[in-house]
């Protein structure tokens, strides 16, 4: 095989040599075919680098098709053959002065794409000449050549002192593509902020109509950074841009929407009108034929809906899922349906959601149950909806039952008035069916919480305590047993004993420690233990949302970027220089705001030392996936400390402020609890598994000041 390849290369070499000197017309076709062959070999990763010198010898050709292939070959291999690349510089430079503009442009593009650092000196001069060329094709290539130069060697570009004339090109070049490319270079060299000034924006607006769809996206991005000084300007710009909302290209529409939204931020009323205006085009685009085109639009609409759900309350039908929508779109639609639910449309929405519960796609079915639960949680008078939710249990499907149990738990925590309905529904659940840890933990918690529930159910579960895989379920079992013990001591004493014994033997630190803690508390004083473990239940007023408003705002600042699709701010993933917009965001977040402590005075203040400790732990355990992202990624853990989330359970204080989804999945974080009784708990969990307050596992014990 190797031999054959070697032979073939040898053949090609000879053929190249034979053709090299010839300028004959009849050889043109032969040359083309030969080059085509070489390019094809290159593509199927046969190493054709050994032909480099022969190829260079063949550079003197007048046939443009051959030239193109040749240049393609050279730019592909120059990087690995810098010495040889030097040989073709001469030809390329000569071609940069050809009479045919296509050849001039082509040569210039190849020259600036060689990416050989010690050849850069030969590149600057042709680029400068190209900028003055009379043909737009050459000029636009030359201008992007500057950007390539800048990426390799920024000093060289600043030495040229050419940005002034590039600016002039943006404004004055008759060809729109040249102007757009010049703008591109400026954004790369000077950054968007330097361009978003009045002296620049006004003339660009004037020639806005000449740009093609791709350039428009860039121009609009510059406009979006522009900080207007007077409100009349806002209207001027919007008037200028309004027709772009009708553009067929979704990228242009989104970019326009971004400009509109950011411009009107200081004027809340106009901002709301803008929402009304942009709704129609966005709703059209989400029903695009191609899922991949629809997806970014749906994601952006999702962000807008979460930001101002009321404005979309009447459009809920657009968010109905089609049977063959891909699941990533369905998921977003479900969340939008949940967000826009209000007292008028909620029954329609819940009816629609109930349809999706039968979806064959398990995550979607579960999300639908979750959505119904969410609506029930938010609705002031949700009896009917709770009834619907509880009906899902009758479907007898494991995943649906599991999700329903989890929602029942949240429901009971927030709306104790549903206790009778929930109690009744729970009694129909076949306990052995529920296997999933989160659902089982929720079920056990419900059993513990609902005093009317038969404590003997727990006996079966305690028997298999040691076999229970999830520590969360074991923790809940301990707590549930203790709770029942306080209610019916004589009947459950034996049960509790078995539970505590099993817990103390447990190998998991948290389970073990909790068992010991309960044991000591009970031994110390049963009454006080009850005060601690089963205090007066306080219903939760609000759950810490997954999408808190400051997070939404942060994403909103990065409207029309990948951030919105990932739902992570740009600094968490993009290379630093690529997202200058994030600089402002984290700085605000870093200001220590002990909001959590203020809002919940019953909680023990978070000790600074401990906080520092946790921080240290996080930083150590948080190796950024990409080495160069050090600057900004490390800021993410700092944000983790910001206790601005508020409304969290005491024992979870630290865990809940965290944004575990910002961390790499494999990192672990340590949760510390220092309890007044002298018990100290410290356990580490995978960061991804750290609960938000909404599914915190420690709701059962709070620490009254009295202890």
């Amino acid at each position: 095989m190797g031999d054959k390849k070697g032979n073939e290369l040898g053949d090609l070499k000879t053929q190249l040599r034979n053709l090299a000197g010839s300028q004959l017309k009849e050889n043109t076709q032969a040359k083309r075919d030969l080059f085509k062959k070489i390019i094809s070999y290159m593509t199927i990763s046969i190493d054709v680098a050994p032909l480099f010198s022969e190829m260079i010898m063949a550079t003197t050709t007048t046939d443009i098709a051959t030239k193109k292939m040749l240049y393609h070959y050279i730019t592909h291999h120059a990087n690995s053959n810098p010495e040889l690349a030097l040989l073709c510089i001469n030809t390329l430079q000569k071609d940069c002065c050809d009479v045919d503009p296509t050849i001039r442009g082509l040569a210039l593009r190849s020259l600036s794409s060689l990416r050989v650092s010690n050849l850069l000196e030969y590149v600057t001069e042709p680029i400068q000449r190209g900028l003055q060329d009379k043909h737009p094709y050459v000029r636009r290539t030359a201008v992007l050549g500057l950007a390539k130069l800048n990426a390799m060697n920024p000093e060289m570009v600043s030495d040229l002192d050419i940005m002034g004339s590039v600016r002039a090109m943006v404004l004055n070049d008759p060809d729109a593509q040249v102007s757009a490319n010049a703008l591109t270079v400026l954004t790369e060299v000077e950054g968007y902020e330097a361009l978003a000034v009045e002296s620049f924006v006004t003339p660009i607006l004037k020639r806005l109509k000449s740009y093609n769809e791709w350039s428009l996206a860039l121009v609009l991005e510059v406009l979006a950074r522009y900080k207007v000084t007077k409100s009349s300007e806002i209207y001027d710009i919007m008037q200028n841009l309004e027709d772009r909302l009708q553009h067929a290209n979704s990228a242009v529409v989104l970019a326009t929407v971004r400009v509109f939204l950011l411009l009107t931020l200081p004027l809340p009323e106009v901002h709301q009108q803008v929402y009304e205006r942009i709704k129609a085009p966005l709703l059209t685009l989400i029903s695009s034929a191609i899922n991949e085109i629809a997806y970014p639009v749906v994601a952006h609409l999702h962000l807008l809906v979460l930001r101002a759900p009321i404005l979309f309350a009447t459009d809920f039908k657009y968010f109905y899922c089609k049977y063959n929508d891909p699941s990533y779109i369905k998921k977003l639609k479900l969340e939008m349906l949940t967000a826009v639910a209000d007292s008028n449309n909620m029954y329609d929405i819940v009816t629609e959601l109930s349809e999706y519960v039968a979806d064959v796609d398990v995550p979607i079915a579960r999300s639908s149950v979750h959505a119904v639960g969410q609506i029930a949680l938010e609705a002031p008078d949700s009896d009917n909806i709770v009834e619907r939710l509880l009906l899902f249990l009758e479907l007898g499907q494991e995943h649906i039952t599991a999700e329903t149990l989890i929602m029942m738990k949240d429901l009971l925590r927030k709306c104790p008035q549903h206790k009778p309905a929930i109690t009744q529904a729970l009694s129909f659940v076949n306990h052995s069916v529920v296997q999933e840890p989160a659902a089982k933990a929720a079920m056990v918690w419900l059993i513990g919480e609902l005093s009317t529930e038969d404590p003997y159910v727990l006996e079966d579960l305690i028997e298999t305590f040691a076999d229970e895989e999830s520590p969360d379920v074991r923790l809940e079992l301990l707590t549930a047993c203790v709770k029942h013990f306080f209610l019916r001591p004589p009947e459950t004493q034996k049960l509790l004993g078995a539970a505590l014994a099993a817990g103390c033997r447990d190998s998991h630190v948290a389970v073990h420690d909790r068992a010991i803690m309960y044991y000591r508390l009970l031994k110390h004083d049963v009454r006080k233990a009850q005060l601690i473990i089963c205090p007066e239940t306080v219903s939760v007023s609000t759950f810490t949302e997954t999408h808190s408003s400051d997070e939404i705002e942060q994403l909103f600042q990065q409207f029309n970027s990948l951030s919105v699709l990932y739902r992570h701010p740009g600094f968490a993933f993009a290379s630093p220089e690529a997202s200058p917009v994030t600089v402002a965001g984290p700085a605000e977040d870093r200001t220590p705001a002990p909001a959590a402590v203020q809002e919940a005075p019953a909680q023990p203040p978070v000790q600074p030392a401990m906080e520092a400790d946790l921080l240290g732990d996080l930083l150590r355990n948080d190796p950024p996936a990409d080495t160069d992202a050090s600057g900004r990624v490390q800021r993410a853990p700092v944000r983790l400390e910001s206790p601005s989330k508020g409304r969290i359970c005491a024992t979870c204080a630290l865990a809940a402020v965290a944004h575990p989804h910002l961390l790499p999945h494999d990192s672990r974080m340590t949760i510390h609890h220092e309890l007044p009784g002298g018990v100290f708990l410290a356990y580490s969990r995978p960061a991804a598994a750290v609960p938000h307050a909404s599914d915190c596992q420690h709701r059962c014990f709070r620490w009254p000041d009295a202890v």
């Binding site: 390019i39 292939m69 490319n181 067929a248 529409v253 059209t284 997806y295 029309n560 993009a574």
Partner: protein, 441 residues
């Protein structure tokens, strides 16, 4: 750098092997295709999102036939732009070599490199309009094995004067016979409950044009939509006025003139293009209604009763009506009777009873009755999810929205008279990402 669309573009086959790739910037590694294959294609975690973040790069991808087109970027890129670019790229490639699939890509390496060179430079999209690109591209697409593989060089010097003024049309086009075709194609989307309540319906329309016109013609289109009609001082009484919820136009339409005086005027590109898209939610006429009754009789039998009504005028005919009635997976056979027209059979591959009606006049009522026998499955408690009934049809000559062309005017310096052809067609939502669905539960 927010508008960089890609640092590299890959074309991969279904196994994740590279067919062609092109690097535009050096900021991403070269072994990304491996990451794509192992982390996305072979991963068990099927989230399916067409954007993934792996090893500090974002992978934006789409699939067409048996090819994945993948753009890789390191920045917080403009996602919509990236997707749009990939799609335009596929359309462009199709215009060069017919079908966009692995084989055709492999036959056209050189052309692909040439195209990739022109449409994007240093990660920034340049010009994707086929008309303009033709001026720079030397290679010809190989449409099939037998086609001529020789490249034909366009005389560049002669044609390279344009760009700028009218980006989408070059000068000096001449046709002996000046013709313009205009098609209104409407896709009706419907979501109906089993009881016949319309949960959601809308109509996504597009106007497709094919222009064979000489010179630089200026066209003006008049529709019976509310905006333009009102502007002209109210409609004549016999006209129905349509309210468009939203309109988007091809880039050739003068948007400025549309927003000031509500006329759709444009200098068309040569050949085929999509002039506009619109969406209508109010007053959509549903061409068909379906009333299903599906009863599960015990564990092994199913009784299906479907009534199909055509609601349009009797003088028109619907073509290629296909009703797909889902049945459970473990169906053994179905005993089907059809009254009123068409043929029906059980299709095991689709798990459907497929009822095909070649031609169906308006204001008709058709029935399908079927007894479906199932294998009794033991142990499996999973209830049948009762997927919705899906309808496919085409009705020429009508628009579900009632939209009509009032006039289409052509002006040109040369003063020729163009022949105009106007057609309308209403289709089920299927190919526009929509559905004509009737739920069964």
């Amino acid at each position: 750098m927010a508008h960089v669309a890609a640092s590299a573009i890959y074309f991969l086959n279904l196994r994740g092997e590279i067919i062609v790739h092109r690097m535009y910037r050096d900021d991403v590694g070269r072994n990304l295709a491996d990451a794509f294959r192992t982390q996305i294609l072979q991963s068990k975690e099927q989230t399916g999102t067409p954007v993934r973040y792996l090893g500090s790069c974002s992978f934006v991808y789409t699939r067409y036939n048996n090819v994945y087109v993948l753009a890789v970027t390191k920045s917080n890129a403009n996602a919509a732009l990236a997707f749009k670019f990939l799609n335009e790229l596929i359309t462009l490639f199709k215009s060069y070599f017919g079908e966009f699939m692995e084989e055709s890509l492999r036959n056209n390496f050189v052309l692909i490199y040439e195209l990739l060179d022109e449409i994007m430079d240093f990660g920034y999209p340049q010009i994707l309009t086929p008309e303009i690109l033709k001026l720079y591209i030397t290679q010809q697409g190989v449409k099939s094995e037998s086609a001529d593989k020789g490249a034909e060089v366009v005389d560049n010097k002669a044609t390279l004067q344009v760009t700028g003024a009218v980006g989408h049309r070059r000068e000096g086009i001449y046709y002996k016979k000046n013709q313009v075709y205009l098609d209104i194609v409407e896709n009706v989307n419907l979501l109906m409950s089993a009881k016949g309540t319309v949960l959601r319906s809308d109509c996504a329309g597009k106007i497709l044009m094919k222009c064979f016109l000489s010179g630089m013609p200026d066209l003006k289109l008049g529709l019976n939509d509310k905006l333009t009609v009102e502007k002209e001082g109210g409609a004549r009484n016999d006209n129905k006025i349509i309210e468009l919820d939203d309109v988007t136009f091809h880039q050739c339409v003068n948007l400025g003139r549309f927003s000031t005086d509500k006329t759709v005027s444009f200098v068309p590109p040569d050949g085929e293009f999509e002039l506009m898209r619109y969406r209508i939610t109010e007053g959509v006429h549903l061409p068909f209604r379906v009333l299903p009754i599906i009863k599960e009789l015990g564990r092994t039998r199913l009784e299906v009763n479907v009534k199909l009504k055509s609601a349009f005028e009797p003088k028109y005919h619907a073509l290629g009506v296909i009703v797909r009635i889902p049945v459970p997976k473990h169906t053994v056979k179905a005993n089907i009777q059809v009254r009123g027209g068409g043929k029906a059979k059980y299709d095991a591959a689709q798990n459907c009873l497929v009822w095909k009606i070649k031609r169906c006049a308006g204001k008709k009522e058709l029935h399908l009755e079927a007894e479906v026998e199932l294998v009794s499955t033991t142990g499996e408690k999973k209830a049948w999810s009762r997927p919705p009934i899906n309808l496919e049809f085409q009705v020429p000559m009508i628009t579900a929205s009632g939209l009509r062309v009032r006039f289409l005017k052509v002006w040109e310096k040369g003063g020729y008279k163009a022949i105009k052809w106007i057609r309308t067609l209403t289709k089920s939502g299927g190919d526009s990402g929509g559905q004509y669905e009737i739920r069964c539960n």
